[in-house]
């Protein structure tokens, strides 16, 4: 675990090399079902300037299960930001009250800025359309639990479905997976294609990928399907949102003929992209994925607080 000693904040998956990612995934296994008092006396500040259910609650659960305490807000309208306080000032002040901070903010780069003004470790709980690194760690954790061969260099084909343009979970996961032997299938409407900057990155790194718009026949050679919600809040143009919002609807029929060990992941919340009829299928991994947020976040909190 020597690779983890230099980590002070968790801001972007780009800050982590392959060894660090592997070590964090192995660390998370140790926190699975673990409850103790290692974080007793420590306080987590949760600054959520944007709505969140899973991320906030799983951070809180992780802290409480390790004996720590939590304070914060889940609604920007109750913070001083409403009065016009800068984020930098807000972070300077709140970091003096707690031992570690988790921040969710609507603007890209907010977490990086926060880490520059905080006196305690900062964890990015999602900054606009940019990064959501703890989601990426729990996505990787979920994938490697079912496909441990990935960590040994075996090949895996991962399909990304839905909003590949604005989806920060997609961007972060693609970047993280390129440390391993992964090829991609990018399935999205034309207007929600993966941005050029990520396509250029895949080209530069010689990562194999293909792209299509329809899901028909696109899953036969895929090991993991990462479906995403079409996010209304990220669309500058509501007309365009209405045009693509129902682009995909996964049913048990869609998953017929998929490979042995196939996993369907989704960062949740889902709206209509996955039928509830899929929930009972063995391929439906998304609720287990959400549960994995707790051991992963327990590991990250303990790491940053020097309690592993």
């Amino acid at each position: 675990m020597d690779s983890l000693k230099s980590i002070q904040h968790i801001i972007s998956i780009k800050d982590f090399n392959r060894q660090q990612i592997v070590d964090i995934l192995e660390l998370a296994i140790r926190f699975e079902n673990l409850r103790d008092d290692r974080l007793k006396g420590c306080v987590l500040g949760t600054l959520f300037f944007e709505p969140s259910t899973r991320t906030r609650l799983s951070f809180e659960a992780a802290m409480l299960q390790l004996g720590g305490k939590v304070l914060g807000f889940a609604d920007a309208s109750v913070s001083s930001a409403k009065k016009g306080e800068s984020l930098a000032d807000g972070i300077r002040v709140s970091s003096s009250y707690v031992d570690i901070l988790v921040l969710r903010h609507p603007l890209d780069g907010a977490a990086r800025l926060a880490s520059e003004h905080s006196s305690v470790p900062v964890i990015n709980g999602g900054d606009g359309a940019n990064q959501h690194p703890t989601q990426t760690f729990l996505d990787l954790y979920t994938i490697t639990k079912s496909h441990p061969e990935l960590l040994k260099g075996e090949p895996l084909k991962v399909a990304m479905l839905g909003d590949l343009r604005y989806g920060r979970t997609v961007h972060s996961l693609i970047r993280a997976l390129t440390h391993f032997n992964v090829s991609f299938r990018l399935i999205s409407p034309e207007s929600l294609k993966l941005p050029d900057t990520y396509i250029d990155f895949l080209d530069r790194e010689n990562i194999e990928y293909d792209a299509c718009q329809k899901i028909d026949d696109a899953l036969e050679d895929v090991d993991v399907l990462y479906a995403t919600r079409i996010q209304e809040e990220r669309f500058p143009d509501p007309v365009e949102y209405n045009r693509v919002k129902k682009a995909y609807h996964l049913t048990p029929d869609t998953l017929k003929g998929v490979r042995e060990g196939f996993q369907l992941l989704h960062p949740l919340p889902r709206i209509q992209e996955i039928s509830p009829k899929v929930d009972a299928l063995p391929q439906a991994a998304y609720f287990g994925q959400a549960s994995n947020g707790v051991p992963v976040r327990k590991a990250l909190l303990s790491l940053l607080l020097g309690k592993i």
Partner: protein
């Protein structure tokens, strides 16, 4: 070609000559590196084997500051610079491309925190693109506006 350049771009007695500027960035560089009272000569759309059409700027009695050099390196990394004294080249310099430039560019991403808080922008240079250290988006140089503090009348 050299003779033709000398016809269209006046020689200077003392100062700095910046050559091999991509031609479409020449005016922008002049704008950023000169003050209202500066005397300079420039040529654009001149032939060049290294950058296609090139621009050349001759800054009379002017030595570039460290900040000027950062801007120049970020906008035209392939440019060359000659220091002139008494009409003679006394020093030839290649630009050192910095890893990062601070408060040089404005991030084009309107959702980037740097466009909403009073903080200095930071861009990492590399791979022919400049990447915002905050929102992590990469942009080609053509898409980047320079920070207002680098204007000619700042």
């Amino acid at each position: 070609m050299k003779e033709k350049e000398q016809l269209v771009v006046e020689a200077i007695k003392n100062g700095t000559v910046i050559d091999h500027i991509p031609t479409d960035r020449t005016l922008q560089i002049v704008d950023l590196l000169t003050d209202p009272d500066d005397c300079y000569f420039l040529g654009v759309n001149l032939g060049s084997t290294s950058v296609g059409k090139k621009g050349i700027v001759k800054l009379q009695d002017k030595v570039l500051t460290k900040s000027n050099l950062e801007i120049l390196s970020a906008l035209a990394p392939q440019a060359t610079m000659n220091i002139i004294k008494d009409f003679k080249i006394v020093d030839k310099m290649k630009l050192q491309i910095p890893d990062e430039v601070i408060k040089v560019f404005v991030c084009p991403n309107t959702r980037c925190i740097t466009n909403h808080e009073v903080i200095d922008s930071r861009f990492r240079l590399g791979n022919g693109e400049h990447t915002c250290a905050y929102c992590e988006r990469s942009f080609s140089v053509d898409r980047l506006r320079t920070h207002p503090s680098h204007g000619p009348h700042s």
